[in-house]
Symmetry: C2
Subunit: 871 residues, 2 copies
Amino acid sequence: MKKFVYGFNEGNLSLKHLLGGKGAGLAEMTSIGLPVPFGFTITTKASNEFIKQGNLLWDELKVEIFQHLAKLEEHTSKKFGGKKNPLFVSVRSGAVISMPGMMDTILNLGMNDETVVAIASLTNNECFAYDSYRRFIQMYADVVLGVAKYKFENVLSRVKLKNNISLDTDLSVDNLKKIVNEYKKIIVNETKISFPQDVKEQLLLAIEAVFKSWENPRAKIYRKINDIPDNLGTAVNIQSMVFGNIGKTSGTGVAFTRNPSTGEKKLFGEFLINAQGEDVVAGIRTPNRIEQLKDIMPKAYNEFQKIANKLEEHYKEMQDIEFTIENSKLYILQTRTGKRATAAAIKIAVDMVEEGLITQKEAIFKVEPTQLDQLLHPSFGKEELNKQKILTSALGASPGAATGKIFFNPQDAVNAYKSGEKVILVRQETSPEDIEGMSVSQGILTARGGMTSHAAVVGRGMGKCCIVGAGEIKIDEENKFFRVGEITVREGEKISLDGEKGNVYIGEIPTIEPELTADFDKFMSWADSFRKIRVRANADTPKDAKKSLDFGAEGIGLCRTEHMFFESNRIDSVREMILASDLEQRQQALNKLLPMQREDFIGIFKIMKELPVTVRLLDPPLHEFLPHSEKEIEELAKKLNVTHTKLKEIINSLLEVNPMLGHRGCRLAITYPEIYEMQVRAVMEAAVYVKKHENINVKPEIMVPLVGEVKEFQLIKKSIINIANEILEEEKYEIEYLIGTMIEVPRAALVADEIAKEAEFFSFGTNDLTQMTYGFSRDDAGAFIKEYINKKILENDPFQSIDQKGVGKLMEIAVQLVKKERPNLKIGICGEHAGEPKSIEFCKGLGLDYVSCSPYRVIVARLASAQAEAR
Amino acid sequence: MKKFVYGFNEGNLSLKHLLGGKGAGLAEMTSIGLPVPFGFTITTKASNEFIKQGNLLWDELKVEIFQHLAKLEEHTSKKFGGKKNPLFVSVRSGAVISMPGMMDTILNLGMNDETVVAIASLTNNECFAYDSYRRFIQMYADVVLGVAKYKFENVLSRVKLKNNISLDTDLSVDNLKKIVNEYKKIIVNETKISFPQDVKEQLLLAIEAVFKSWENPRAKIYRKINDIPDNLGTAVNIQSMVFGNIGKTSGTGVAFTRNPSTGEKKLFGEFLINAQGEDVVAGIRTPNRIEQLKDIMPKAYNEFQKIANKLEEHYKEMQDIEFTIENSKLYILQTRTGKRATAAAIKIAVDMVEEGLITQKEAIFKVEPTQLDQLLHPSFGKEELNKQKILTSALGASPGAATGKIFFNPQDAVNAYKSGEKVILVRQETSPEDIEGMSVSQGILTARGGMTSHAAVVGRGMGKCCIVGAGEIKIDEENKFFRVGEITVREGEKISLDGEKGNVYIGEIPTIEPELTADFDKFMSWADSFRKIRVRANADTPKDAKKSLDFGAEGIGLCRTEHMFFESNRIDSVREMILASDLEQRQQALNKLLPMQREDFIGIFKIMKELPVTVRLLDPPLHEFLPHSEKEIEELAKKLNVTHTKLKEIINSLLEVNPMLGHRGCRLAITYPEIYEMQVRAVMEAAVYVKKHENINVKPEIMVPLVGEVKEFQLIKKSIINIANEILEEEKYEIEYLIGTMIEVPRAALVADEIAKEAEFFSFGTNDLTQMTYGFSRDDAGAFIKEYINKKILENDPFQSIDQKGVGKLMEIAVQLVKKERPNLKIGICGEHAGEPKSIEFCKGLGLDYVSCSPYRVIVARLASAQAEAR
């Protein structure tokens, strides 16, 4: 005969597929000798069999259930339906994968007109007894008999109103008895049968209800959406009830084995004497701190401390434990891994290694990589935040907390900043011209854009709190206010941004500044020891380079040369270069830019020393550098000595319908080779300078963007080599430099073998690759991506986590083609995904050599890579 | 011993790899008994060996050469370097693949101070003799001795100036002798050696020069660019000279075996008595028509006619033959396949089948598919065209010829058309709003855009002459003129467009209207008999559908429902729908559109009868339908009863940075499901209507655009089925319909197996697929694609011919994934490539079921598919 029922003493965690998550957890605790209220689990196999039998409990199963019920009676010395010391049980579903939409819990099963009297006299608490009975009838009627809840609630309200009572707990015994009677009447009216007094009937019907709930529509849909097989089935747990509200020697509480805020190794939690679990949560009575249990019930406290230690040793994790004390006897009802703040997680991990509880390798899994971000940015205190009302929610594009006065254009922001204000920049969307305004702001809020829009990318790069795609905000940049529904917020008024959650608040909220600890350093050094994949940073300036090094970057994987072009002292020369009417004029403008660009690289090379620095040559379309407002055009026209009309004509002729797919990247170098020539000259002259004056062997890696066809790369590579040779021969220095390319156009991935013949390194540009593979413009997709995620069409925003099926497949194709052609080619990734743990794990699987992310994500990437490799 | 030299009597065409193209051709003609001036070929292997030997002719080779030279002397009864009847030869390179950049030809080799006297006396023509000598010295000095040409030309100019002579042919014998002497002096001055009088030395040095020219930089670069292996080598042909200018019984000419303009089976060509080949070309003397040779030299004529027949029989092709008559003896110097007009090509193919010369299968290869386009469009007469000066050249996006008055906006164009003018629309670029203006125009000219820009696609769809991307044209739409350099053309002035070549002319050029013949029908029916791949048309209106059927389309592969939205009587409802502030308003507007859209489909279904009609649901982003000019916004605001500011705000909020990658295609249906619901309702109601009233079993295929993820398709498919079921159940009719999707986003190709589980057909949308795979916006890439082609980075415009390496690879991946998942899934292509022969052949190779192109390309596609399958 098949076994369909397991006592809690017969299982453990490894039987999760059979006992469900909850059942296996209870069995595991029982198996290590913890005082768990005894009970048994009906297996998931029984659930499948139940369906096969046409939604009926078959006789053999019933026999097995009652055999286990008998054992439970024996174990508890109580009698199910007994008139003296009655046994009550809870009935709970317990699927293998936790699943909403199913029947959850029936408590106090076994109550009837007789056992309620028995428990009342036993506990000397009629109120408790009849309140429990009332609750049981309602719960049972709802989930087993299908009688709508509101019918019971109406009765309750009526009685309270009549007796002028506001809280349930103020109901008298008489009130409760009346309610119980009315509840029974409702059941007769609705179902044409009486509320079952037979406790065995109660039990069997409850079990049936759990099994049936596996097939209810909500549960089915949930399984479909989450790819949970229909034949997994659910288990049913029947557990004896214990009561913490029988008197002064009873109680209930919740405690962490360590402090979840600080990580300190000391019990942390609270309890209530003579109370039930829900009373602790309800907050009607003020709970005691767990330490106080030591004085009140020293024996129970000592036992609890021992159990806490035992559970930590067993699970090798800080635990969050629910307990009940019934007549001085301690019961453990549940334990699970405790949630904790990042700083605490790090301290706990380090402490546990030093206590000999876990290994360093285990330790690095105790912190979620993305949590680390919290440590680097200001945050709002939790309590402060709870007081605030959210004005609107959008995409939290860069974490941190910011409070300041709002301004609607970068110039106003800069002016306010100069007069000492804390500033938040609010824009329809940002563009490269806004850089200065962004850099002086505490935070950035845009109405448009997605996770890789300009504001998002630059915000993360600067480590600056940023919220994007806040479509509810209607901005009037001209009149300097925005509106959300009826609320208007004007220039100079204060708002606060939570860049992690994407929430916008009105008014000021105090922020807490970040701090890194010695534990943090120790923890990260362990992580690094498991890591082979290198972590670089995307850094465009000496300042960013310095920050990257502080965060442990092992090189620069992306230095965007165009960010340097926007500085106010050079944008004019850039514009002159773009608007040049012939090669000679363009060359003149480039000659002005050369020394500035060389200085940039000298600055970065000096900081990065002998670490590799990947310099990406000019990427954006030229029109991005041109002015757009009439006023700016007017000014520029004067400087360049052309008419306003003429200038506007040129600017218009450069505009593009789809700039993302336009004249940019290496395409610029095909039509204007002299631009890259200047940039390469600046890189190589800087390298020689640093070698000459500082004796540093700089390692520049020159990266050509947007290559889709090997012949593009060949042509440009040749020109790079010519310039480099010219400089090195003239200066008589050797510089080790590489010439490589980004793989960011789908075609590049498809012909990666051809490109690999020519390139000395590859770097996946997964931002563009995602845009083109999906056909999602990062600037426009914000309008519908949220809806895609809501409707479960997309699991994640593909700009945040690599779409492994599509974009990832292209990457895989590229890597395979490369491995065949040139197995040792260095391959990295420098898209925004390079700082996201799931994507990093994917990159590790592909065998990439490095990931390069914004400086503030370097730490996340270090831990995520370490975990991916240690796994 | 290896054989390195072949007499013309030792080879044939199959030895092309060894003898090169020219050598093999000469041998072939010799082998079928034609009177070819005898000679021999030094093989390509010798060329490789020459390089191995360090660029030296080795002794064994020299021996072999002179053995063959001896045979040549014997054959011609002339003596190389002989003082009585001297033999002269030409020396020509002849690579396997014809290749510019190499030494081409040296004529008259063997001339020296003695042989020139001999030939002068033999021909009784001292002028001819010394002129030939002069030319030989110059050619030889240039290509063998490396003396710059201009030095010789200086001498020639000086002598002519001094003697007041303007034409070379007016030089006297004395002049020529003087020139010969001066030429020799130049050689001594430049090379420190005398011009070689030893004819064998002349020969060996010339052969060396040919071999060396294989390695010259221009030839090397050409090979690299065109992927020609360096080790192919070149052959050298040494052929005895024959002269048509020895007297009245000599002559030279060129003739086609049939009339290249009409196809009539009759010799067509011209000749000159006592002349050399170049005289015919030079046009100084008026040549005789070939028929006149019958009277002048009947024997030679008859022989020529026989040879012409023989050559046609041998090559199974109409031939273009060069001949020379030396002392009444006919020599054939060259024959090649004759170029002909399309109508002629068709007549010749049909005639040849009826003459029994070729099979039907061979016949269908006698016409280039793209040539067929000529038959459907007006054209300019060749002579007319030769008189015109080209104003500017750009991309010929849609063939045909157009003449008319220019207008700069669609409204002006429509007005002029209504008052009876022939109109040409000149625009910066066109947009969907311009449709009406485009449809009344003879032709369209735009300053921007590429081969798949809006103007190009719509132009081809309408069969209307269209030139795009004319960047040299600076348009001032406001003031209604354009400028090219110094030339200004104003509204109402006439221009002419050649849509095939992409040329723009000032003024009117008469056009010739197209006409299809009975031969054409016969020819196409043969083609169809070899074709399995189906040809459908992209047609959006009943009118287009009718045209498609006329051209032989077997269904509609792409009916773009949005084109219908622009008609003036419905654009308001479309805009109302877009600007609706809630679902109810949107539904109201859609309810107005439903009957109109239903009428469209009824019209199309009636015409297409039981042929499949693929209806693509709404694709473009909604902002494309909104007005842009202030005036139109004002008008619309009034109609909708909102403020101008409010309307503009909404319009602006819908604008996108990269609309191509924005909120369009099925993404619209995810956010606004009611739009597709209306469209599906219109399709199904129309199908039921046509079934009910005409008893036609319509075959609608509903196509969802821009799917990138199977869940998008699932969601929309479900909604389509719901609507369809609702209608069919209510009406109690059965309609066979399919639900499929376009594969146009790279990701769709990468997850094609998943999508194939749900979709009932696939259609590759290669326009978008190309845009996204390359990252080239079709609207913007015009700015640099020409430069890419000029710089040989791209071989073709990938929007014209499928990029097989990249885009094609994605298609291949998709097809392979589908074949694994659902081998019988119908797959087609409906991008612009579907009408391009190379792309069609590629699609055939992939095993696609159908191609769908614009109506005017259906004929091209039918022939191209037939060829691809018969091949």
